[in-house]
Symmetry: D3
Subunit: 298 residues, 6 copies
């Protein structure tokens, strides 16, 4: 179970109200690479995990991500605090208030009008957070790779946010959060490679030779060679007959239907057949102008 | 630009109509780990990529994933073909048709009633595909890790689907698709490590010592040690004073408000203050029964 | 910040594997009335709250809801544990495994095929959780009412789940969770009524007499009187002239356009006008059969 | 403004409780082709429409669709009525109740557990209704075509639902609803063709000759000719050089960057370049087993 | 299966970096009327189609729409290229970078902060693409009408985008894309009318006389006559008794419940009845101020 | 069934075109607290309600909310009218039109480019309306509380919008709409308290003593006392041993597996175990630079 301490994991000192910057920060609060996504990702893996070591690690990190969600949410709240008071008390003239709401040039208007200046679980475009962002599938060698990737992405988004603010307190707290993604990535890497073998993931072996072929399906002047399709590891196929119907069949598709099904499918086909010989008058003809008068349907 | 050949990349031979199995297959058609997600992932990266080698690889694989989308969609179409004719032509008695629609025990009813037996871009629960599944962020060391993870997840879901069917033609085609995920993972791994350095991702260095600390935030009997928190690589912190306010501050949060903002925020606070001394009668009291008659509001 | 203890808030003892029941339990894990929604609701209010008493209460309860999320997620994990092993190790014949996956008669197939038996953040129909469920708007008298309502709804959904299971351990844990919703509702009621006045919510007064009128817009044999439209508190209006254009105007709508705008709007209107005198031949006529041959467009 | 009469537009007589059938009916209540989508579609067009004739038609039909929403919702409510009482009063043993909830073989469990037997605004898979289903774009020749198509789709889904029930009262009411879609389609066709010209939609003329070319981009044994690509109306292009870079350019893509932008883009390219000559050791190699001992990083 | 050529279908020449314009262009990349929606629409119809002519046409056009997705995505990428380098390399001072990110006045901030300047599958408001936009239902006369409407809508959105840019290269490429929607609409019209009859769509005949009635449900000064409700084709009903309970019944609703169901439903009704005679004290009374002291619950 | 009168419930007089203000108004058209949500909430409750008095009230108010949807939608349409003509007729130079589209500083660009100036069912950030906003669960004491809360929230959002505009006609119409939320809240309060008892909601009694305990899970300097955790009504628990495993168990979790399940779960655990003693080389090590040459996998 969870406990909470009123001390943040990292002290937040914000220089001044700035609802436009607050809106950008939402990306790491309720955005796809943000802290709620991270916490939910590791928490659901923790619940489904049976390995005692990984289970412990997952909940340690999930709990930390919740603490980070609190830090970034606190930053959003502080940046919005002045604007919140201004709208709740409607202190200014309407026209001035309108300008201050819409003038930030991003989506801060929705944070204020709909969410009252509190930190909503949306990204910086106001899109609600969805668990479709959480890609946990309940298999450790896949989930750990997903975690490694997620930490990388979060690190980059923090980097972008740091580049956008010159408020020293915000910058410093974001630097801490960015760095912790690096630490978490290291832990997940260790956990992945402590499972041996971990590649290919899962239990079923590949069907050979298909795991050692590279299909060069985009051709033309930009064709390149690199380690991803090098002869040392891959056979490159680029001729049409080599890349299609690779099972040696005809590349077609069939299903065995029962006699009744077959009869019904054919009946449906006849009923809805297009006549390839027709040159029918169409709605576009009727609407295109220039058509001679047409007789009414009797 | 794209071209299409009427030959599939892998021949599809389905043994018999089975809308319940068709519904499960949707997981890899319009599900989060499915082929549309894969194709969109690599195609959007291709469009944003400037490195000529990676750009070529990304479009090769994106094009192949589109061809896989066609294979899995063809399997769905074949498995649904008999049921489609049956409902379109309404050949059976209503009660029998109702039983066949709802009897499969999963969500195949929606594939038939709403989508007419065609392959819809939903997962096996009927949830529409969303680009929220696509985690491309436009930085190659992050995106390649995301691709590696995505291929791992797709491999596992195919493995589960293979375990669920005894139709040899379906099994064989799924085996091909599963194997190609392994091949793609290998290519993405090569591409990632051909960027040096690629860790930590991005450009900004971590703020030390925070990248070398492990915060043990879940404590109790299940506490474990492993490579993810080993002394060789991490300093483990588990005392309350070590894990909170790690910047050395007070763990609080502040913002500097202008005098006007401050006054408005305080005015709002006064207006909406809760009286901690009150013991107010509440709605729950009014609804809980047993209350003596209360005087009307004058 | 958050801490975690490996002891649950309430001990979970599940009698036997039951993925169908696990699927129903998801309603309170990742469903709209579930524990993630509750935790996020109170946590975001906590971040935006300035009143010290309410702020403390909100984080106390948010932290408890996270602990409840852990309990219900643990129940899901336990109920799915056997099925998870069965699919991961593919121990049975495919046909038998297929029957066990699709035979539960609800959406447990997706929990297993897509999420590998772990507890996903979806409701019992497999719909991903969305923060659109969180109705926090950053005003305490509204948010506290939202919380009171949310606790009521959660209480009812737990009641339904309890009615559906005869596993004593599951029943007991659900009874605890249901009861805590009652306790939380009581606290939120106290906090709401400790703000005085709290009705009408917000700062702007109603425009009278409109707050004391009841518009009887559905008329006919089922028309009823009750406290919600009683003469003691409301003036009932039910004549057409009383209920429309209640401002005394003509019920129309106007906007003052600039001369340039007006000219453009009129130009657009002319360009897209429908001729009310026409009896045009239409696409439906072309498709309805029985039409005499129509001349080709020259 | 709207008024309501307690008499339905069509009398609803349901033969017996059937929550499984109720669930299928949701398709036309809160599904993409259902009555809420229809009502919202025409209502939003009505609000944006300036042509007095079309404006009148749109609100007539929007109002009727709301009345249809009421009919289909009433059918759902009646079909669920018995099950609602059963769960609310928890009259049966848990095991029996569980069987009755999950035994219908579709998604009726969610209607009951989450929505308490009321008609929720979801489709038959429990997916919440979204205005993403409403394709109004505010241009009459496009919107009227969208309406014609929407009425066609709704007609078909009703046809499928009618085929699935043998309850005479339900069948009769559905027959009425299905027929009204036909009537509405006829009205929208008339309204479209009463605008002349209406093709191509909008104001800008096509760039010739591109509106008269058919690009045959899928080639192979199934290539067909029909009115959609006939020589009478189209020039068919099927040679690679005819179908790509059709503007006569090189098919490439360029942007003029400022000197500063160019320098930054090149710097980013260098920093993230993949070395095409490398054959790096990768994560997959580390996880694949069989690797000789590797030296520790010093 | 698909193949890719590195030459675009239409050469893209962008005059200068412009992330604000890039953001608007997203409407046709990942928006509801955009090219991904078009490609998915025709591709899923192709998979479910049995008529050989239509099947060929659908995949020809689906493949072309993928090629258009590439063109519009390339335009987005080029327009964002400078901004991407600027943020990735963080070349400017933070304050200046912040201004350039938020200054465009639309949602370009999210394209840059979250997606790194690559083209994301969202619309111009940052809303993720969803297959809820794809209205394929697996019946050709409905689906072809949906396609005709979709092409009309796409044509209009391109027209609006063309009106917004003065970059000649962008304008020219958009003109090509707009024109191809016209060509596709013509093909789909031909394919629809080559099915005879195609109206009413589907197999079941309408229930007469309901297909020939127009219900005038919105009444008042703006009532109009036009071809959509003309006497030549429709009987107009506008009297209350003519438009409600049109089956001749009482407009009520009934369900036959079993004795047990009936008893449970009545028990539930009694338990939750509202007392129409009550004038209860309410929560609003408690919060409205001015209430005399109320006695404590004993 | 529904009827419509062409007179609005409240006359709308808009002073001038203002697409930026129109965009903010969308919050109450297609936003979570807006009129569509309100109408759908009460309409679905009406359909599921059996109590004749509440049923009448619900449809009276649902019908009024539809009339309010029409008012707010009309305001949006009027505010957008000039901009709509400007873009449809493309009267200005492109650069000027671009500036007017993107210059409003909020999301008005999408209303214009995608929706053509009509009122779309989105919120002010362009997020499509979803029935996930509708929290009806089919139990009257919960649903009435949800309605009370919803009216409160809507009142506040109107208050914010009123503060943002100085157009007298818009301000007046919004004042009417705001006030009606107050009236509706009063009616719903009366209806709730006319059910006795209504607390706790539903039928099952709480499990005591858990309804009378307050768990103080967030501790530290900000700990407060108030009516929500006062000794008069709650026992406060704040010691670790008092707040965890409150059932007196060990706080653990167990499930009884069959022998076969147990064996499979153990097999899976062994196959995917992490070796806690390992110090494996990881992908991060490979990417971090500074690694000595590693031998190729043979």
């Amino acid at each position: 179970m969870f406990f909470h301490s009123k001390r943040l994991q990292y002290t937040v000192r914000v220089g001044e109200s700035n609802p436009g910057l607050a809106n950008l920060m939402l990306e790491q609060f309720g955005g796809p690479q943000g802290e709620l996504a991270a916490a939910c990702r590791y928490f659901t893996q923790y619940l489904g995990e049976d390995d005692p070591g990984r289970k412990d690690m997952l909940i340690d990190i999930a709990t930390e991500e919740l603490s980070h969600l609190e830090i970034i949410g606190t930053i959003v709240g502080m940046l919005n605090k002045g604007a919140k008071g201004r709208l709740a008390e409607a202190a200014e003239e309407e026209a001035e208030l309108y300008r201050s709401i819409t003038g930030a040039g991003n989506d801060s208007h929705i944070t204020q009008v709909l969410y009252g200046g509190g930190p909503p679980l949306t990204n910086s475009a106001g899109v609600p957070w969805t668990s479709a962002y959480v890609d946990t599938i309940g298999e450790p060698t896949a989930d750990l790779r997903s975690n490694i990737a997620a930490e990388s992405r979060a690190k980059i988004v923090y980097e972008r946010l740091i580049a956008l603010t010159d408020d020293p307190g915000v910058k410093e707290a974001l630097g801490f959060l960015m760095t912790r993604e690096v630490a978490h990535q290291k832990s997940f890497e260790k956990a992945l490679y402590a499972i041996q073998p971990n590649f290919p993931p899962g239990k079923m072996p590949p069907v050979e030779p298909f795991s050692r072929i590279y299909y060069n399906l985009s051709q033309g002047p930009g064709d390149m060679q690199g380690p991803w399709n090098s002869e040392a590891h891959f056979t490159v196929k680029d001729q049409v007959e080599e890349v299609s119907a690779v099972d040696g069949g005809d590349g077609g598709f069939t299903v065995k239907l029962s006699a009744e099904e077959d009869q019904l499918v054919q009946q449906m086909a006849r009923r809805t057949a297009s006549d390839p010989q027709a040159d029918p008058l169409t709605g576009a003809d009727l609407g295109g102008g220039g058509l001679p008068p047409v007789p009414e349907k009797p």
